[in-house]
Amino acid sequence: MRKILALMLGVIVFYTALHAQQTRAIAGRVTDENGQPVVGASIIVQGTNIGTTSDANGYFTINVAPTARILLISAVGYGQQEITIGTQSTVNATLSIASGSMEEVVVTGYTTRRRSQFTGAASKVTAEKIAQVPLGSFEQILQGRAPGLYISSSSGQPGNSNSRVNIRGVGSISGSNSPLYVMDGIPIEANVFRSMNPNDFESVDVLKDAAGAGLYGAAAANGVIVITTKKGRAGRLNLQYRGQVGFSQPPTLKNLRLMNTEERLQYEENILGGTAGILGTGLTGYPGWDYSPRNPRYQNLTPTQRATEAALLDSIRSINTDWASLFFRNGKFDQHELSASGGAGNLTFYSSLSKYKQEGVIIRSLLDRYTYRGNVDFKTNRLTIGLRSSAGFSQYSQIESESAVALANPVAAAYLELPYRKPFRQDGKPNVGTGQTGANAYDRLFTTTDNINQFKGNLGIQAQFEIWNGISLRNTSSVDWRNNNSTRFIDPASWAGGLVATGAQGLYNEGNSENLILFTRTGLGYDKLIADKHNISASAFVEAIRERNRSIAATGYGINPQLPNTPRGITSGNATFLPAIGGGRSLSGRFSTLALVEYTYDNKYTFFGNIRNDAPSQVPLKNRDNIFWGVGGSWNIIREDFMEAQNIFQDLRLRASHGEVANVAGFASDFGYISTYSSLASGYAGVPAIVPSSPGNEEYSLESQVISNLGLDLSVWDRRLRITTEVYKKFSKNLFVSQGLSRTTGFNALSVNAGEVQNTGFEFDVNTDVIRGRELLLTIGVNGGFNKNEVTSLGLLSDIPAGTGIFRVGYPIGTHYTVGWLGVDPQSGLPIYEDIDGNPTTVYNAANNRSAYGTYLPSFVGGATLDLTWKGFFASALFHTAQGIQRFNNESFFYETTNSNVQFNKRVDMLNSWTKPGDITDYQRINSQRQFSSKDIEDASFVRFRNLQVGYTFRPPSTKIVNNVRLWGQAQNIYTWTKWQGFDPEESNNIANYEFPNPRTYTLGLDINF
């Protein structure tokens, strides 16, 4: 193994051995307070990146330069120790347990800083919180783990990767609010984690302010999520197997009951039919009314006919189909992973292989993933080289029309289909046909496919060469590549195949989309500890990034039923239909120069400063010089002399930072500044045509942001109570808004840099070791962030309506904009709306839209954790909450309308619809038009018992092969407290459109360390 790795390394860096010069070796051992060896402790020469780790017995050796003064020794779960090295060649260290988050390091991607010397706001999530969570996409795992980080899934389909991830609110109106993702110093594509294995992640640092995220300048405005993957440690080879099996359950419908057959028939007879109803007197297709004795036609029937119809009605009454149970299922889940890590001499490595397969809780939904990671680190006293590589393949199978208001969407069909309809015919086949909403949607799940095969590869190299006296030359270069191969097939012989508008004989679609990010950073760094007190770290870099994307897709029709699910089945088409081909390409780039400096005096005072110039390709030449900067300071009060006398605080530190950054993800298009023509795909009269596509904007510039942060860290009670708090203000300006244009210009809108948004907030992270005994440790943590978001300017405009929402000065982003609902008029049975002044009116008018109904973005997001260990047992629990969320429930509109959509099932309360003057009810008369209104806006705040893990770790007696074994079980999404009506309150956008709900998952796991 070692030879293979050595060979690999040789190929890449051209040589296999280097000799240390002018250094000396120091050996030692790291033990805990009980004298037990600490494995994998990190030993770093202060002020440098030179370091090693302790082996399985706690021993280490390190080569240090003559200038080295202090060794910093730390390990996960232990406090850090500083040991001054004189001339001795042996150093032993004893680490004390659990100083919690106070002494860990913050990884920014440019620097790695001890928290006590970090001036910014950052939260860390460690491997044990990330690993083995049964979620196909990594972002959701971070939910509830870091204050100020809001994550909301867009779907419960395993592997769905369009989660909303917002750090400290949203600061862009029309651009992206997704943070920058950096993995091992390498920028990677946001929101593409389906084909990555989060078990490979050692830690995740969430950078939130000018002194952390600010290092990324033009890309920093939405915060930065820095992922550090695992590295090997020198010492014995660690082999590990980790596996889990389990299943996912569909959630239950909350706060809402739809009609059963009996209720539906009553509804048809009394509400749809009846005197005020909309149904005529003949056969209307609604059996509850058709066969009712109250129907006037009944009078004309013979006794025999009456008996027949009564029998028919009885047979219908006996059907009570639970449509949801037909679409939903328990999804199977299993995950297996083998990893090997270790190292010797100059070389360490980490490698893993994993398989992850999770069925969604709706038929056909599936994520099947295979991943590889190989990390190799090579280190001498002068040269450090790190190689990071990962590759993943996933097959993602989706349900039909996910998150769409479409009858093909199984979630919609489960709500809307009538309970007295039969799913299957006599012959057992789905009962498809016109109006058979449920059966048609069910049939589709078997006669169509919608798959994405994703390949994701990531390769990075970090090299550092020590030139002289603390000065080093550094380079990071990387390739991040993702390819989605999507296929879609509709069986020509199926009901759905006949509905394909083009050709009416199914379709086959295949497409490829690719994203490539090339990145390189080169510069000089300087790290020096002078006179034991002056710790200086400075660096300057030049960076270049290029992002390319391309896509092509072809759709063919008239599928030959003999050749399903292959492009070969496509026929060439005829005069009424032809195959369709589309796609496109674009690219962007950014060139940056930057410098940063950090100076710590005596571990008391730290100053941070950075400055950079970013030139993005997306703006006109005159706007390509953009200076961003940040400053920060921290005061480690506990180190002051005057604190020596007190014994209340064990840590006390004040931090502040301020700076200006930008949002390079704010551009709606790569070339939005240029006035352009584009191809008119249809041409005209068979001749190719071009049309103006954008009027261009010569003033196009970056969205920018000023961030300030003030933080306080403290610990008391012998470090058993640890508190971090932050207050911040983010002022985002030059935000793109879509300024409506006079249509006489030939265009509808222009993206202009005119908006301003302010986010202010407060965050806290409190952890306390309630019990800290030798064998029993109980830690409870609570974190949360309050955020106030406000649009402070929209340039020339004060309002920008956007569908059912509005951007309005003085209101938060995500504000709903609709007409108020006041109830139902007891006299007329008509809906009563509010006019613009709040007065009742029965006339619906969109001009009465008001912004009084809240926003779908939360004002508070938080998490609570409980960790318990007792001897070999452990338990950990996570609660997550998002508060202050109002969402538009498009679903409720469908089960409450009375002038259309009556063929769909309704909420049971609709039996109380208005039927005669004097009725006091919330449900309007039949045949009156119920419009979208404030009635459809519901509180979607929730508290969720997100995760519970319980397990036992033991060392099997009398075996030398197995080091230890961990048996454990977990439950995910155990319970949700909410007022929301539907399957799941959690969703990433403003409106509920029958999204795939998040499931509850149970797993059993086994970890074996060899």
Partner: protein, 480 residues
């Protein structure tokens, strides 16, 4: 020292590779053509001209005319999707859900887009060199086509959005755009008077007429005939009756009425020959690529859901046995359906792929008849009415109508029947200041939507809210 050299080399390579700022940042779009080099030769001028044609969506005005007037009743049955009910119920406001860009309000947006595309090309093509005489004359003809398109789009705007139902020279019309807005963000024009707009339209049409040679006979584009027909339309709208007679008399002999025997084929042929061999003076070309512009899907969708059915009033106006138009424009089984632009019955594979007849000689004949009647030349007016009816009704015998008002009413009724679902009905009622009057059976007994007088506010169309928000100078039409 070997170490130094190797490491330096390695890092230097990376440094240099990452250092070319222009290479990283100075990028050109791949999928878009920067405007400053989009129009560089006659080939690209041709493409941009096709783009102006490709921008025009006649569908939007046809939709308004059908729904607001007496051409249709709303669809029935469970498939009916509530399409068009706001306009049909005369509940339209400037911010109605269906008054935005999607369908109806789109006339405003779409016609100004056509005008903008034309104005841009008129300017950008100016310096484009021509290689030879053929190219030079082509460039001249293109200029003519662009001016005509610009004029015709202005006429559509004027007829739909003026602040008065009929032509009132001194009242507000619409905004004249004769060059594209250089600073779109601050472009907030006021409306011109109707007379100013008409003057501009006539200027453009006069120039276009001189620039487009008669030898250019591609009726999928604007030919000289189409320019003359447009001049007739302007004259009819402005009640310039002698001008109507003159222009229509010019164009009718050039493309005579399609006779009775060929009339059905005119509507069942998806792509008509575009060589002026039929009475279609301008046909908007529909292919699979722009199928979304087709008219048939306004009334029915491909799943056979009926959004609008023919009004009983219109159905009952025909001689159902002898009038070829009845069988051509409608189906009565399994229920009453509009079939003029294609029809879905059962599971036939109709996709509504039919060229749109933008201007037909029938319209010209009836315009001349109306003008003659207005000029009190009742014999000539009767002759034109007879000519049209004889080409539509088997065994037609004409009885002269000698009362001028009755004759004009008959001519307008004939327009209703001949030009149904072609976007003319509402405009005809407007210019004649006639009420929109529906049969009780067409409004499901709802008398509130049976008669709309020209004096009532909903008789006019509102300026779309999106325009008002972006351009407060535009001013709303009365009553909205």
């Amino acid at each position: 020292m070997k170490i130094y050299k190797t490491a330096f080399l390695l890092l230097l390579i990376a440094f240099v590779a990452g250092c070319s700022k222009n290479e990283v940042v100075d990028l050109q779009p791949i999928d878009l053509i920067p405007s400053d080099r989009a129009i560089s030769d006659m080939n690209s001028v041709t493409q941009a001209l096709q783009g102006v044609y490709g921008t025009w969506q006649a569908r939007r005005s046809v939709y308004i005319s059908s729904l607001i007037s007496d051409e249709v009743r709303l669809g029935t049955g469970t498939e009916y999707r509530n399409v068009g009910n706001i306009l049909f119920n005369w509940q339209h406001v400037s911010d109605s859900q269906d008054w935005r860009d999607a369908e109806t309000g789109g006339v405003w947006t779409n016609m100004y887009a056509v005008i903008d595309r034309a104005n841009r090309l008129l300017e950008l093509m100016e310096p484009v060199p021509t290689a030879n005489a053929t190219e030079a004359s082509l460039k001249t003809q293109y200029r003519g086509e662009l001016l005509a398109l610009r004029a015709m789009a202005h006429l559509e705007l004027l007829r739909h959005f003026s602040e008065t139902p009929d032509y009132q020279p001194e009242k507000l019309g619409v905004v004249i755009m004769t060059e594209y807005a250089k600073g779109p963000g601050t472009h907030r024009p006021t409306r011109n008077t109707q007379a100013q707009v008409v003057t501009q339209i006539n200027t453009d049409l006069t120039e276009a007429r001189a620039l487009i040679p008669a030898s250019f006979t591609n009726s999928s584009r604007i030919t000289r005939n189409a320019v003359i027909a447009s001049q007739a339309r302007v004259a009819l709208y402005t009640k310039n009756w002698q001008e109507v007679v003159d222009r229509t008399s010019e164009v009718i002999p050039l493309q005579p009425l399609t006779p009775l025997s060929e009339y059905a084929a005119l509507w069942t042929t998806r792509n008509l020959p575009d060589n002026q061999s039929t009475e279609v003076i301008w046909q908007y070309n529909i292919t699979l690529g722009n199928l979304g512009f087709a008219l048939g899907s306004l009334y029915q969708d491909l799943n056979a859901a009926v959004q609008a059915s023919p009004s009983e009033k219109l159905l009952n106006s025909y001689d159902k046995i002898n009038d070829i138009r009845f069988a051509t424009f409608f189906r009565t089984s399994p229920r009453n359906l509009i079939a003029k632009h294609g029809v879905v019955i059962g599971s036939n594979s109709e996709n509504f792929l039919y060229d749109i007849k933008m201007i037909r000689t029938s319209e010209m004949v009836l315009a001349r008849a109306e003008a003659y009647a207005e000029l009190n030349q009742l014999g000539l007016a009767n002759a034109d009415l007879r000519m049209l009816r004889a080409a539509r009704i088997t065994g037609y015998t004409h009885v002269d109508i000698n009362d001028r008002a009755a004759l004009i009413a008959a001519i307008l009724q004939e327009r209703y029947k001949e030009l149904a679902y072609e976007g003319q009905r509402y405009l005809d009622l407007r210019r004649r200041l006639l009420p929109i009057q529906r049969d009780l059976s067409d409004v499901a007994g709802n008398t509130a939507i049976q008669v709309l007088q020209p004096t009532e506010s909903k008789y006019l169309l509102p300026i779309p809210q999106q325009e008002l928000l972006a351009n407060p100078n535009i001013g709303q039409n009365p009553g909205f």
